[in-house]
């Protein structure tokens, strides 16, 4: 059982790293670094020179750096898939009785397979924007399921660590509200990003900031929802700290971390608007949003466990 917990934490860490690497592929423009899938230019080890290219692939597509960036993402993806598979098997061996652990890790595993397939479709469709969004959303659902199963496993191992906690009756709805808003916010965010790419194609060589201005109301909704999320989090923090109730350290830390991250996200987001759209900032803006999903799922799970006997 403990082994399962260790592996599920490992799955979580590696999935987060993979989300970062995936974002890196996106911001560095390496998505089509390998024009085929799963091989790269017809090879299991990407080519290092033009002479190694097969006849059926146009040679102009070869860019050594982009090919390796994309291929390392795939190799890392395969590694993460393997770790999640092991976690899934361990879950079956040790948690037959705990449906919560078993269902969530099974879901995570099957969605990971689906995620690999969507990754292949991305290459097929030459980075279709909707497919990119699905690729990201699936990753967020997977990380949410892994975190949920880890915490539930921890509960099964150490007993109810939330038994002394008592949360405000609004806590559940506020947490679910945060989760819901986060998902909407992320979808709008990917729309902004995709729209930026489209208008960049139609207006080559125009600065990102001007393009961003051309995007219209989307980015305002993104900002407004961002501040609403901050409001919800501040309210959650208030009821978590309310003396009439009792919160676990896990809960308090998670909520504080969420608050710090949302502040950071608003600053990063505004920085993206007011300065040139910098790839590194874009990357962290996306990655922090995945951390926020994970933390919100954690708070939900702590609340859920506090109801258990």
């Amino acid at each position: 059982m403990k082994r399962y917990f260790q592996f599920s934490v490992l799955s979580m860490v590696f999935t987060y790293l993979l989300i970062f690497v995936g974002g890196l592929v996106r911001v560095s423009g390496a998505g089509m670094g390998c024009p085929d899938w799963p091989k790269c230019f017809g090879r299991w080890i990407p080519p290092t020179s033009l002479s190694q290219l097969p006849d059926y692939i146009d040679p102009e597509k070869f860019n050594l750096v982009l090919a390796w960036v994309e291929y390392l993402n795939r190799l890392f993806g395969a590694l993460v898939g393997l770790i999640i598979l092991i976690t899934f098997v361990l879950g079956y061996l040790h948690f037959k009785s705990s449906k919560k652990v078993l269902f969530s890790i099974s879901g995570a595993f099957f969605l990971t397979l689906l995620e690999g397939w969507v990754g292949a479709k991305l290459v097929d469709t030459v980075l279709d924007p909707i497919t990119i969004t699905i690729h990201l959303l699936l990753a967020l659902i997977i990380i949410g399921l892994i975190i949920y199963s880890s915490i539930q496993a921890y509960f099964a191992i150490v007993g109810n660590f939330e038994k002394d906690s008592k949360y405000h009756p609004h806590a559940k709805n506020v947490i679910l509200g945060i989760l819901f808003c986060l998902f909407i916010e992320i979808i709008i965010g990917t729309e902004i990003r995709g729209g930026l790419d489209m208008s960049r194609k139609d207006n080559p060589l125009i600065e990102g900031i001007i393009l961003l201005k051309m995007l219209g109301p989307f980015k305002y909704i993104h900002t407004i929802l961002g501040f609403s999320l901050l409001g919800l989090t501040l309210y959650l923090r208030k009821i978590i700290y309310d003396n009439k109730f009792k919160s676990s350290t896990f809960m308090v830390n998670s909520v504080n971390f969420i608050m710090v991250l949302i502040f950071t996200q608003i600053l990063l987001g505004e920085a993206l608007v007011f300065f040139e759209v910098k790839p590194l900032m874009q990357l962290f803006h996306m990655w922090f949003s995945s951390l926020l999903i994970g933390l919100s799922v954690s708070t939900y799970t702590y609340w859920r466990i506090s109801l258990e006997p």
Binding site: L24, V27, D58, E60, V69, V126, P204, N256
Partner: protein, 201 residues
């Protein structure tokens, strides 16, 4: 409440990720900006555009050119090629330094009037996209000597490649004119050449 060591390790991890990512992004950017080396010079040629104007090797100088070989009655890949060319033509409307050239490989059928109608059908309303014709011998010569294409079985057996020609009249790269991935790469190459000849638009 949260241990200091946690915060420190978080900062260390984020810095490490940030530095590695910066390195990768810089490398990737440099590699995208890199335009392929000169392949060869476009030889002398003399053709007439769909507007009846003369067009020769000197018309390539001080312009970035995207050139392909098509014929208007082509059932096969030409519609896709022209559609991709049309998209680029539309996208780069603010860049008069970039010209598009489609050479007919069926000059017998593709008279000046036919080419003019084809240009109109493709929404050509300025002189950035030219449709050229000449006698079959000259077309074959340009295709073979100029761009190293096979031309035994013209018109049907023409190449589907787009050719990128720089401001000195040198061939820089070939792209599959029917493939979205290749066109995306062509776009980045066009952008990086345009940035080099003009600092900012």
């Amino acid at each position: 409440m949260i241990k200091k060591s946690y915060i420190i390790s978080l900062v260390v991890i984020i810095s490490f990720l940030g530095i590695s990512a910066t390195w990768v992004i810089t490398k990737a950017n440099a590699s995208i900006q890199e335009i392929p080396a000169v392949i060869k010079k476009v030889p002398d040629f003399e053709m007439v555009s769909h507007l009846g104007k003369s067009f020769n090797q000197d018309s390539l100088i001080n312009k970035i050119s995207i050139l392909d070989f098509i014929f208007t009655s082509c059932p096969g890949p030409c519609p896709t090629m022209s559609s991709n060319m049309r998209t680029l033509y539309r996208q780069y409307k603010l860049h008069p330094d970039l010209q598009f050239i489609s050479v007919s490989v069926d000059p017998e059928y593709d008279t000046q009037e036919v080419l003019k109608a084809y240009a109109d059908a493709n929404g050509v309303n300025d002189n950035r996209w030219k449709f050229l014709r000449a006698d079959m011998e000259s077309v074959k010569k340009l295709s073979t000597d100029g761009f190293m294409f096979m031309s035994e079985s013209l018109p049907a057996g023409h190449s589907v490649k787009f050719v990128l020609i720089d401001q000195n009249g040198d061939v820089r790269q070939y792209y599959n004119g029917t493939d979205a991935g290749s066109i995306a790469i062509l776009r980045t190459h066009i952008n990086s050449i345009l940035k080099n000849i003009k600092p900012k638009v």
